[in-house]
C-alpha cells in the first residue's frame, strides 16, 4: 500500500510545542494557509484604498492636493498589480489551495511541508519588497500594471529610479514563492490522495486549483523572463526591450531593442494568469452551488474537461491583448479565433452552474447569494470579452473604459464574489464559528448592487471613448457632460462599496470574538474536508486513521437515501436507505 504510506507519513509531520513553532515557523498547511490569506487580505485592503483614491481624482478632478498626475499613475499601477498577483493569486492558491487540498483529498499535510513554509516566507518577502517601493525615493512605479517598456523605465514615468526595480524584484521573489507552493499543490493532488480518492472523485475545487497551479508553473516563467530582461535594461543599460530613443534632443544609450517582445512575453504570462485566478474560482463556486442547492453538480465530467481545456487554450490566446500593437492581420485573425473558441468551454461551465440550480433545493444562504451573484457578474464580463475578442470591435474599444469594465466584471468582481462565497462557506470549518447571516446579507447586497453601479456605467464610458489610465479628461469635445457626472456617480458607488466591506470586517472580528460556536458541517456538505475528527481540523487532520473514500463528492439528495447527503467516506453498507431504495450493487 505504498500510496497510503505517502498520504499517511507521520514521519515528516512536525509536532511543535512552542507558540512560535506552531504559528510562526509552522509547516502545517492550515497555518500556512491562514498566514497566506491574512497577508493577501492585508495588501488587498491597501489596494482597495488606492482604488478609492483613483476614483476620487476621476470623480472630482483637481479637488485633492495629494493626488497629482504622478501619484495617480502610481495608484493605478499598484492597485492593479497588487489585486491580480498579491491578492487574488496568493489568496486563491496560497490561501485556499493550501487549506483545502490536503483536507479535500484526504491527506495529513502537503507532501513537502518545509517547502510549503518557505513558500509563504518568500511570498511575505515579495510583499515587503513591493510595499517598500512606497517609501523609496520617487515612490512606486507608475508604469501601469502591464509595465510596458520603454516608458516603464524612462525618465518621466514615476518611480523610474527605484520603484520599477523593486517591483520587478518583488515579482521575481513572488514567482519563486509560487513555484515552491505550486510544486507542493500539484504533487499532493497527484500523489497523496487517500484510499479510494480517484481523480474523478475529487471535488471541482481541487480540479480548479490543480489546473491553475500547472498553468502558473508554466506561465510565470514568462513573467520571470520579462522581469529579468527588464532589470538588465534598467540597471545595466542593455537593450533587450529598449529601442533607440531620442529624449530631449539627446540619444539615449539604448538601441535596437524590441518593446513588442515584452508585450508578447508579458501576455504569454498575463492571459494564463487570468485563468490562474479564474479556474480555482470556477471550482469553488461549483462546490458552493452544489452544496447549497442540495444537488449534484450538473455535468461533473464536462466540468472537469472544461477546466482542463480552458487551461490548455489559455496559452494560445495571449495576443488578443495586442490587437492595437500593429500586428499582421492573419496573426490577429488566428488569435481572435482561439479567443472565441475559449468562450465555448467557458459558456458550458456557466450553463452547468445554472442547470445545477434548476430544480435544486436552493438555500439562499450567504455563500449561495454570493455564488449566484458570481454567475451574473461572470456572464456579463464574459460577454464583453466576446466583443473585445474580435479585432475590429476591439480597435476602437482598446484602452478605453470598456476594457476596464470588462476585466473588472470578469476578474475583479467575479473572483471577489467567489472569495466571499468561499469565506462564508468554509468559515465554520476554519474557525469553528459561523459568520453572522444578517450582516452577511447586508454585505452581499451592498457589494453586488454596488459593484454593478460602478462597472455597468463604465461600459458606456468606454463606448464614448473615455480612455483608461488618464489622470484628467480636460475639455475633450467628443465627450458629453454626462461623462463627468457619470464619473462622479461611479466614485460615489465605489466609496459605498468600500464602506460595505467594513461590515464584512466587523462581522469577522465580531464572530471570532463573540460569535456562537457553529455546529459541525452546518451546510451538510459531502466532501471530505468537513468530516475530520476535530473541527477545526487538528494537526495531521485525520486523527489516527485516514478516511477511505467510497464515492464522489456530490452525493446530494440521492434517491432513496434518508439523509439528503452522503459523505464521501461513508461506505454503501452504512447508508440509510428507505425500504426499496437504492441498494448497493454488491448486495
Amino acid at each position: 500500500m505504498s500510496h497510503v504510506a505517502i498520504a499517511d507519513q507521520e514521519a515528516h509531520l512536525h509536532h511543535p510545542k512552542t507558540f512560535i513553532g506552531k504559528y510562526i515557523w509552522s509547516q502545517d498547511h492550515k497555518v500556512i494557509a491562514i498566514q497566506y490569506a491574512s497577508t493577501a487580505i492585508f495588501v488587498g485592503l491597501i489596494a482597495l484604498v488606492l482604488s478609492v483614491l483613483m476614483r476620487l481624482q476621476l470623480g472630482y478632478p483637481d479637488q485633492f492636493d495629494f493626488i497629482n498626475p504622478n501619484s495617480y499613475l502610481q495608484f493605478v499601477t499598484m492597485h492593479g498589480m497588487i489585486m491580480v498577483i498579491y491578492l487574488l493569486t496568493a489568496l486563491l492558491l496560497g490561501g485556499f489551495g493550501n487549506y483545502l487540498i490536503p483536507l479535500m483529498v484526504g491527506t495529513r499535510d502537503m507532501v513537502f511541508p518545509y517547502l510549503n513554509m518557505l513558500s509563504y516566507w518568500f511570498y511575505l518577502l515579495s510583499v515587503i519588497v513591493l510595499l517598500a517601493s512606497f517609501f523609496a525615493p520617487g515612490g512606486p512605479t507608475g508604469a501601469g500594471w502591464t509595465l510596458y517598456p520603454p516608458q516603464a523605465i524612462l525618465e518621466g514615468t514615476p518611480g523610474v529610479g527605484s520603484g520599477i526595480v523593486l517591483m520587478l524584484l518583488s515579482l521575481a521573489i513572488f514567482i519563486v514563492a509560487f513555484t515552491m507552493g505550486g510544486l507542493n499543490y500539484v504533487t499532493t493532488v497527484l500523489q497523496a490522495r487517500t484510499r479510494g480518492m480517484t481523480l474523478m472523485r475529487m471535488p471541482l475545487t481541487i480540479w480548479g486549483i490543480f489546473t491553475a497551479t500547472i498553468l502558473g508553473l508554466f506561465a510565470f516563467p514568462a513573467l520571470l523572463v520579462s522581469a529579468i530582461m527588464m532589470l538588465f535594461d534598467t540597471l545595466a543599460g542593455t537593450s533587450f526591450f529598449m529601442p533607440a530613443i531620442v529624449s530631449l534632443g539627446e540619444p539615449l544609450e539604448h538601441e535596437g531593442g524590441s518593446p513588442i517582445l515584452f508585450q508578447h512575453l508579458f501576455w504569454f504570462f498575463g492571459h494564463p494568469e487570468v485563468y490562474i485566478v479564474a479556474l480555482p474560482a470556477f471550482g469553488m463556486i461549483s462546490d458552493v452551488l452544489s452544496v447549497h442547492a442540495r444537488k449534484n453538480i450538473f455535468g461533473y465530467r464536462m466540468m472537469v474537461w472544461a477546466i482542463v481545456i480552458i487551461g490548455g487554450l489559455s496559452f494560445i490566446v495571449w495576443a488578443h491583448h495586442m490587437y492595437v500593437s500593429g500586428m499582421n492581420p492573419y496573426f490577429g485573425f488566428f488569435f481572435a479565433t482561439t479567443t472565441l473558441i475559449i468562450a465555448v468551454p467557458t459558456a458550458i461551465k456557466v450553463y452547468n452552474w445554472v442547470l445545477t440550480l434548476w430544480r435544486g433545493n436552493i438555500h439562499l444562504t450567504v455563500p449561495m447569494l454570493f455564488a449566484i451573484g458570481f454567475i451574473f457578474t461572470f456572464t456579463h464580463g464574459g460577454l464583453s470579452g466576446l466583443f473585445l475578442g474580435n479585432v475590429v470591435i476591439d480597435l476602437p474599444l482598446s484602452d478605453t473604459f470598456f476594457v476596464v469594465a470588462h476585466f473588472h466584471m470578469v476578474m475583479g468582481v467575479s473572483p471577489i464574489m467567489v472569495l466571499f462565497a468561499a469565506i462564508y462557506h468554509w468559515f465554520p470549518l476554519i474557525s469553528g464559528k459561523q459568520l453572522h447571516t444578517g450582516m452577511g446579507k447586508i454585505h452581499f447586497w451592498g457589494t453586488f448592487l454596488g459593484t454593478y453601479a460602478i462597472y455597468l456605467p463604465m461600459h458606456y464610458l468606454g463606448f464614448l471613448g473615455v480612455p483608461r489610465r488618464y489622470y484628467a479628461l480636460g475639455d475633450s469635445s467628443f465627450m458629453p457632460d454626462s461623462v463627468h457626472s457619470m464619473n462622479e456617480d461611479i466614485t460615489l458607488a465605489a466609496i459605498i462599496v468600500a464602506l460595505f466591506q467594513l461590515v464584512f470586517i466587523f462581522n469577522v472580528i465580531w464572530t471570532l470574538r463573540k460569535g456562537p460556536k457553529s455546529e459541525r458541517n452546518p451546510w451538510g456538505a459531502a466532501s471530505l474536508e468537513w468530516h475530520t475528527p476535530d473541527v477545526p481540523p487538528d494537526q495531521g487532520n485525520w486523527g489516527d486513521k485516514l478516511p477511505t473514500v467510497y464515492r464522489w463528492a456530490y452525493d446530494y439528495s440521492v434517491p432513496g437515501a434518508r439523509q439528503d447527503f452522503i459523505p464521501q467516506h461513508v461506505p454503501e453498507e452504512d447508508v440509510d436507505y428507505e425500504p426499496g431504495g437504492r441498494k448497493s450493487h454488491k448486495t
Binding site: I6, M200, P221, A236, T238, S258, R551, W552
Partner: protein
C-alpha cells in the same frame, strides 16, 4: 491512476459508489515534483531562447563567434567548463548507484565541488570577455551571454543548496534515496541545459539566420 479516467469514469452512477479503486501511482512524490520543476525551467529557457533568436536577427546584433578575433570562435575555455560540469554530473550519477557510504559521500562532495568550480570558471569567462572589451551593455549578444550564463549559474547555486540539505540528512542517516536521485537528475539536466546554452550562444551569424528562419522568426 490514469488520465483516461477523465474520459471514462462516471462517478455519478449508483454503481460507482461503494468501490475503493486502487489509486497508487507507484511513483515517489519527489519524482513528480522534480519533473514539474524541470518543465518550468525548460519553459523559462525556451522563452529566453525565442527572444534571443529574434534579437539575433536585428541589425545591431554582433555574434560572439565567426571572425577570428571574436572571443568564442575558439571556445576552448567553454569546453573546459563543460568538462568540469560533466564531472559534477558523473559524480552524482555514481553517488546514487554506489552502495558504499564512504564512496557515496566522496562522490557527493565531488559533485558539489565541481558544480561550484563550474560557477567560478563561468565568472572567469565573464572577466575574460569584459577584459576583451565585450561589456554587458555593449551589444545584445554580450548581454545575452552574461544573462543566460548567469541565470544558469543561479540554478546551479540553488541546486547546491538543495544538495547541501539532502547531504546533511544523508549523513544523519535518514532515508534520502529519492532526494539524492532527484539531485542527480537535476545535475544531469543542468549539464544538458548548459550544452544547449553553449551551442546557442556561440554560433555564427549565418547559423542564427538559419535557426531563425527555421523558427519562423527570420
Amino acid at each position: 491512476m490514469s488520465w483516461t479516467q477523465i474520459f471514462t469514469d462516471k462517478p455519478w452512477l449508483p454503481e460507482a459508489a461503494g468501490e475503493v479503486p486502487d489509486t497508487d501511482t507507484g511513483k515517489a512524490p519527489g519524482q513528480i515534483a522534480l519533473r514539474m520543476l524541470l518543465g518550468a525551467i525548460t519553459i523559462l529557457f525556451l522563452l529566453f531562447f525565442v527572444t534571443f533568436i529574434e534579437r539575433s536577427q536585428f541589425q545591431d546584433f554582433h555574434a560572439l563567434a565567426g571572425e577570428p578575433w571574436q572571443p568564442f570562435t575558439d571556445s576552448m575555455r567553454l569546453w573546459v567548463n563543460t568538462g568540469v560540469l560533466l564531472l559534477a554530473s558523473l559524480c552524482l550519477h555514481w553517488a546514487v548507484r554506489t552502495s558504499q557510504k564512504q564512496q557515496a559521500i566522496l562522490l557527493l562532495l565531488g559533485g558539489g565541488f565541481f558544480a561550484a568550480l563550474f560557477v567560478v570558471l563561468q565568472v572567469s569567462v565573464w572577466q575574460f570577455l569584459y577584459n576583451l572589451g565585450y561589456g554587458l551593455a555593449e551589444n545584445p549578444a554580450n548581454s545575452y551571454f552574461y544573462m543566460l550564463t548567469g541565470v544558469h549559474a543561479t540554478h546551479i547555486i540553488g541546486g547546491l543548496f538543495a544538495l547541501l540539505l539532502v547531504g546533511r540528512k544523508y549523513l544523519a542517516g535518514a532515508d534520502t534515496g529519492v532526494a539524492l536521485r532527484a539531485c542527480a537528475t537535476y545535475w544531469h539536466y543542468l549539464f544538458v541545459l548548459w550544452l544547449v546554452l553553449f551551442f546557442m550562444l556561440t554560433r555564427t551569424p549565418e547559423t542564427y539566420a538559419i535557426i531563425a528562419a527555421f523558427c519562423g522568426l527570420g
